[in-house]
Amino acid sequence: MSSKIREVVLESGIQVKPVYNPEDVDPKKEIGQPGEFPFTRGIHPYMYRQRPFTMRQYAGFGAPHETNQRFKFLIENGQNALNVAFDLPTQMGLDSSDPLAEGEVGRVGMAVDTLADMEVAFAGIPLDQISVSLTINAVAAPIMAMYFVVAEKQGIPLAEVRGTAQNDILKEYIGRGAWIFPVEPAVRLIGDTIEFCAGHAPKYYPVSVCGYHIRESGANPVQEIAYAYAIAKEYIQRGLGRGLSVDDFAGQISFNLDIFGNFFEQIAKFRAARRLWARIIRDEFGAKNPNTMMMKMIAGGGGGGLTIEQPENNIVRGAYYALISALSGTQTMALCSYDEAYTIPTEKAALISLRTMQMLIEEMGIGDTVDPLGGSYYVESLTDEMEARIVTEMQRVDDEWGGIVKAVSEGIVQGEVAHQAFAYEKGIQDGSIPKVGVNRYRMEEEKRDVALHEYNSAAAEDAIRRTAEVIAQRDSNAVKAALEKVRNAASSDQNLMPSLMEAVRAYATIGEITGVLKDVFGKFPEPVNL
């Protein structure tokens, strides 16, 4: 019978009705006003009418001076925030000259060995005006130390420095995999950065909790938020453990979340997440300041939604993701570029992403009124349902898995997410999860070769040579003394940030600093639970 109504079940397991009516909306759930607790409709009263979302694209190539040029190009084209990519050796705390770095120097981002590289990358970029986001995790503390020292040298007081560090190590164990140390000392480092920023760099966002990578690793939208919140709560506990009050720092923890999949499910996810976070911060942590209760997010198009097949379709997907993001009240938007499924974005592709965001806000009036979907029977009902499911999944982390630190240390979350990724991939392969151009409307295409960034071994040699010059010129006694202070701080419960800043100021390399930390902390024994 062709007149039968199709059943719709969202990734999060929610059954969708064909029509929603007033009785589907729970009158007890407050929708409230934008800018007011619980912020379901947005964290500011006038949202984009007052200030458009920030537009940010991921950049960072090879040598620091190239990255610097790319940043200047993006700023000239109207981008007001930068997102820095680092190469894998830097992310893993290895110098460019390390044998394990061979073949990887400058490949997926900028190579940073010493402060000198950061000085070149940020030359002429005022760090109190442009908001820079550093995509760095395991070695976030020393890289943040470099960033702060660069600002110092630009004459900018720490109190005025803006920007964000990703600095979310717990999600690295779940997805993305750039971890070094065991879980406990790795989380302690995050506590150090939170404590340091609360005291010295209050405008800086020391942690951006990434549901994004958790979802990209296979989690569904409910799990994305539930695990991100479990992680964020852990970091907040660490801040409280330093004697800070929640209002001193929790407002500076932001979120990096993912967009792909069902249109309304994502919008409801963000609205639910905002409401739930406000309640957690107020009711569980006793915050008094509304700013602390606001869930601030960067939400952009997820790479997981893009396809290698018919890649131009990804331009359209990117536009839909941007629309979702804007309708969800994001603070910052970053889109994956259409070619990201098979290469590091070209300048042209990155520019199309930027223009996509500019069109929404400047041409189409997406920001003319706040939360235009607020009050929709479907959206409000879905928001309620998503919130309830996120709460249940968070309880599972605590009650069944013994909390997020234990669950990550033992590989429980990783296993859960991997099984979900497998189920999703099966769904794509058998066509039960529709994907246009892949298992629907597939076409014979010209063979498109994945264009990997050519590895530039000359650039790698340059990086090694630059660092050798820095090492030849630095005061080696000062480096030794500073590294000893890092060791002492690491072995005690002293905050590591002051000694890390001293070490980077003396031009200690990222490899030297990480080496000391590895001596003290050891390495993460990866549990492989499949």
Binding site: L88, P89, Q91, M92, L94, L100, A101, E102, G103, E104, R107, V108, E172, G175, R176, G177, A178, W179, E216, S217, G218, I308, E309, Y342, A418, H419, A421, F422, E425, K426, Q429, V438, K447, D449, V450, A451, L452, H453, Y455, E526, V528, L530
Partner: protein, 134 residues
């Protein structure tokens, strides 16, 4: 006829930590009846070789997304050849450009499965290759 199940090592060489593909294929192969061992992240070629030896696997599958597939394959194949372990069937999956496949095959890699390859394709290939061996 041997009833011993085929043992497969799924390995993740290098610094890249994107292991979704490695884990998904490990689960798919286990589902298809193979015995699967997964190395975890950040493995050197030497570590992968040692694990393959210890676990006495029939197949080594490398998941590589970083673009470093050629030097990694070269190193592993050399090590296998030197030690007389060239009966191991080596497979590579991940971000592999079409143009590199002939070079990988020339090194002795039995099968290359770029992102998007189906589970069926991979399991059928392994079955056909391992039948010939036993």
């Amino acid at each position: 006829m041997t009833t011993k199940p085929i043992r497969i090592l799924i390995a993740k060489p290098g610094l890249d930590g994107h292991d979704r593909g490695a884990k998904v294929i490990a689960l798919a192969l286990r589902n298809a009846g193979f015995e699967v061992i997964y190395t975890g992240l950040h493995q050197t070629v030497e570590q992968i070789f040692d694990t393959a030896l210890q676990e006495d696997v029939d197949v080594i599958g490398l998941s590589i997304l970083s673009g470093a597939h050629l030097p990694i394959a070269e190193k592993l194949m050399a090590k296998l050849n030197q030690t007389g372990m060239n009966d191991k069937i080596v497979l590579i999956g991940g971000n592999i450009p079409e143009r590199d496949i002939p070079s990988l095959k020339a090194l002795g890699v039995a099968g290359v499965f770029p992102t998007g390859s189906s589970f069926d394709e991979i399991t059928t290939f392994i079955q056909s290759k391992t039948l010939k061996v036993s």
